[in-house]
């Protein structure tokens, strides 16, 4: 008896994980299916976009401007060793466009909107509002998950682009205004070394991350259980899982796109 219990516990965990993956995949598939099926709930979609995008705009821009600034500062210190400060602009621009903007935007939106989605849906679950939707013959996936998912796909890339822009503004301020790097060279090197694929890969990543963070938030909230504590747990888990997934998928996306 005493031997079986730990094994059972471990087994249960494994089963839970596999079950979780299955449920998530099922939810994802359902979402994809319901996303293309009418009725299209534009108003709900806009509300979700406002919640995910406009609500995260300020924090994303703030993060962006300081990320660019600190990167320029660190880059300048390092490049100064080689007398190559002119490369600061292009280095920051490439880093932002390819990696920093999508990843940090993804993490920021996760922290602010992904957790919000999990909380909202979890609360609806535990207060049986989702069950109520079924009784009203409204598919909760279509009504709750699809708008949030689509909103994530649309607004996170947009936020990522803005992150890059303000990041470059921050880098410009630190590099040219504070550290006195030649303005013409700074801009010229950015134009010289940053290629359209760099920008495009960043946007593609942001698109994927937008899907991941809304999907995880929806999943965790959708399957929350155990009252208020369960909702809190779902929220925390959604943030942790989203962040980890974003970073892992970032590696694979990079490997896929640049190698």
């Amino acid at each position: 008896m005493s031997v079986r219990k730990p094994i059972e516990a471990v087994g249960q965990r494994v089963i839970d994980v596999i079950e979780g993956v299955g449920k998530a995949t099922q939810l994802f598939a359902e979402t994809l299916v319901w996303a293309i099926r009418p009725p299209y709930r534009i108003k709900i979609l806009f509300n979700a976009m406002e919640f995910v995008g406009v609500g995260s705009l300020f924090i994303v821009l703030l993060t962006g401007i300081f990320t660019g600034a600190v990167f320029a500062l660190q880059g300048a210190i390092a490049f100064r060793l080689f007398n190559a400060e002119s490369l600061v602009g292009s280095t920051v621009a490439i880093s932002l466009a390819r990696e920093l903007s999508p990843v940090l935007t993804g993490l920021m939106v996760t922290g602010r909107a992904g957790s919000g989605i999990a909380t909202e849906l979890g609360t609806m679950r535990v207060t049986e509002q989702i069950d109520a939707l079924y009784t009203m013959a409204v598919n909760p996936v279509q009504y709750l998950v699809v708008p949030r998912f689509v909103a994530g796909l649309i607004v996170v890339p947009a936020l990522s682009v803005l992150f890059t822009l303000v990041g470059m503004v921050g880098a410009y301020f630190v590099g040219v205004v504070l550290l006195g790097i030649d303005e013409g060279i700074f801009v010229e090197k950015v134009k010289l070394y940053v290629d359209p694929p760099d920008l495009f890969s960043g946007i593609l990543k942001a698109f994927v991350f937008g899907g991941i963070l809304t999907m995880v938030g929806c999943y965790k909230g959708f399957y929350a259980s155990g009252g208020a504590r369960g909702v809190g747990l779902a929220t925390t888990q959604s943030v942790v899982v989203s962040s980890v997934l974003i970073l892992i998928s970032d590696y694979f996306l990079t490997a896929l796109m640049f190698e």
């Binding site: 947009a158 359209p196 920008l199």
Partner: protein
């Protein structure tokens, strides 16, 4: 409110993202049009380290394309370029370093002749630059050399007082060179002359020695002859003595006398030879007139100086130009003519002495003040009268003139009174503007004459001007003509005439 607000803010976000993307895309897309406005050419490189796909291809620093791909071909690399500018078959390509961090780009020279390159053609002229590592090796070698040199220098300088010694040496060298320079500069002509003198003296001595040797030989031959004659006489005497002893006895006294005379002759010959020797020695030592002639340089120097002086004198004489000028001016108010005859002695182009004879109908005016005492007048016992007296129709000018570029100043006696003048030469001396101030008399304004002369046909000239500008009653206009030429015959006369010496 919220229903309107939500789509608006969301729209702003999406549009902002979209616009940001498009703007950034537009910014970084500058350069080559990747859609294929360019064409591909290739070049084979030994080493493409530092080059990568999309590396820049520039002409004169301007982006004209990028590297499309790099592929291995045997043990070399074929680089395909996508360029958007026309290239000729003599185009050149070179790998250039954009910095020390190992970043490289390709530099094209589009070529000037040959056929235009088409898609897929190859650029044959690949220029290999020294790579950074090769450069570093070179620099290392150079650095080693520099180090060796500085070490050596250091050793020299760091010994006790080494630096000061070097300074001293340099100073000494500088002084010596300056000294030498000065000596050569000052004594150049002297040294030349010394060498010439030495040469000529040597030659003379040689000549003299040769002559002397010839003479000595003759003397020696004579002496020999005398000796042989004496020998023969002695033989004859001996024979005579043997044969006619008694007669000899008798005439012995006579022979004794003859021998005595012979002895005397030989003594004289000896004396003559000694004298000859002594003369030769004296000549050698520079004693006596002949010796001085042979050994003393001063005579040669004197001759040299004399020749130099003569040369200078002749040069001065041949340089001297004598200009003869004649002129007549018609004075309008006076209705009379004024005539000039002038001889100019011009030792140098920029100065001359002028002697001018002037025949002036107006003559020279002077003022005489007479004071008379009158007893008839109570109120004004003294009568003062001033009278202008004109005399001396014929007058003389003697002037010294010095010219500087187009300006010439003259000073001396002008028309029998002290004065100065100046001339301006314009249009290659064809136009001459002159002003003379003379006849400085306290009673009237000085006589100022301004005139212009235009030269034509080399020797002829016409004049025009205004005389006595500042004296209203005497002011007069004049026009005239003249002739002026250089006379070489006069120079010859001057040379023949006795020259006064200072």
């Amino acid at each position: 409110m919220r229903s309107i607000f939500t789509p608006f803010t969301v729209g702003l976000l999406v549009i902002g993202g979209l616009v940001g993307y498009l703007w950034m895309f537009g910014q970084i897309k500058g350069g080559i049009d990747e859609d294929g406005a360019g064409y591909k050419v290739s070049a084979v490189f030994k080493d493409v380290t530092g080059l990568a796909e999309k590396s820049r291809v520039v002409i004169a620093g301007i982006n004209v394309g990028q590297i499309d791909r790099i592929e291995l071909e045997g043990n070399q690399a074929r680089v395909w370029l996508l360029v958007n500018t026309p290239l000729k078959s003599d185009a050149q390509i070179a790998k250039r370093s954009a910095g020390l961090l190992g970043e490289f780009y390709l530099e094209l020279t589009p070529g000037y002749m040959g056929t235009p390159l088409k898609d897929g053609d190859e650029i044959k002229n690949v220029i290999y630059d020294a790579s950074t590592s090769e450069l570093m090796n070179e620099v290392q070698a150079i650095t080693k050399n520099v180090k060796d040199i500085t070490d050596a220098l250091n050793r020299v300088v760091t010994v006790d007082g080494g630096e000061q010694k070097i300074k001293d040496i340099l100073e000494d060298v500088r002084q010596s060179v300056a000294e030498l320079n000065r000596a050569i500069g000052e004594n150049g002509p002297k040294i030349d002359r010394m060498v010439d003198n030495v040469l000529s003296a040597t030659k003379q001595a040689e000549q003299f020695t040769a002559e002397f040797r010839r003479d000595a030989r003759v003397i020696m031959a004579d002496a020999r002859q005398v000796t042989s004659d004496a020998k023969a006489i002695t033989g004859n005497v001996r024979e005579l003595v043997g044969r006619n002893a008694p007669e000899v006895e008798g005439s012995f006294d006579g022979i004794k006398g003859a021998v005595g005379r012979l002895q005397g002759a030989l003594d004289k010959l000896d004396g003559a030879l000694t004298s000859t020797q002594s003369i030769a020695a004296k000549i050698d030592n520079g004693q006596g007139t002949l010796g001085k002639l042979v050994n003393d340089d001063r005579l040669v120097e004197s001759v040299n100086e004399l020749v130099d002086e003569s040369g200078r004198f002749l040069r001065r004489l041949t340089r001297l130009q004598v200009v003869v000028a004649m002129r007549a001016d018609w004075y309008v108010n006076q209705a009379d003519a004024k005539t000039f005859f002038e001889v100019r002695l011009q030792p140098r182009p920029d100065k001359y002495y002028s002697l001018q004879l002037v025949d002036d109908p107006r003559g020279r005016s002077s003022f005489v003040r007479r004071v008379r005492t009158s007893s008839a007048s109570d109120t004004d016992p003294l009568v003062s009268e001033q009278e202008r007296v004109t005399e001396d129709r014929f007058r003389l000018s003697l002037q010294f003139a010095k010219r500087m570029w187009f300006f010439q100043g003259r000073i001396g006696i002008i028309e029998s009174s002290g004065g100065v003048g100046m001339d301006f030469f314009l249009f290659d001396d064809a136009l001459e503007l002159s002003a003379d101030v003379f006849d400085l008399d306290a009673a009237a304004n000085p006589r100022v004459r301004a005139m212009g002369a235009v030269r034509f046909f080399t020797h002829l000239y016409i004049t025009g001007g205004i005389d006595d500008v500042f004296n209203d009653d005497l002011r007069d206009w004049f026009i005239g003509a003249g002739v002026r030429f250089t006379d070489d015959d006069l120079v010859a006369i001057m040379a023949a005439a006795p020259t006064p010496s200072l």
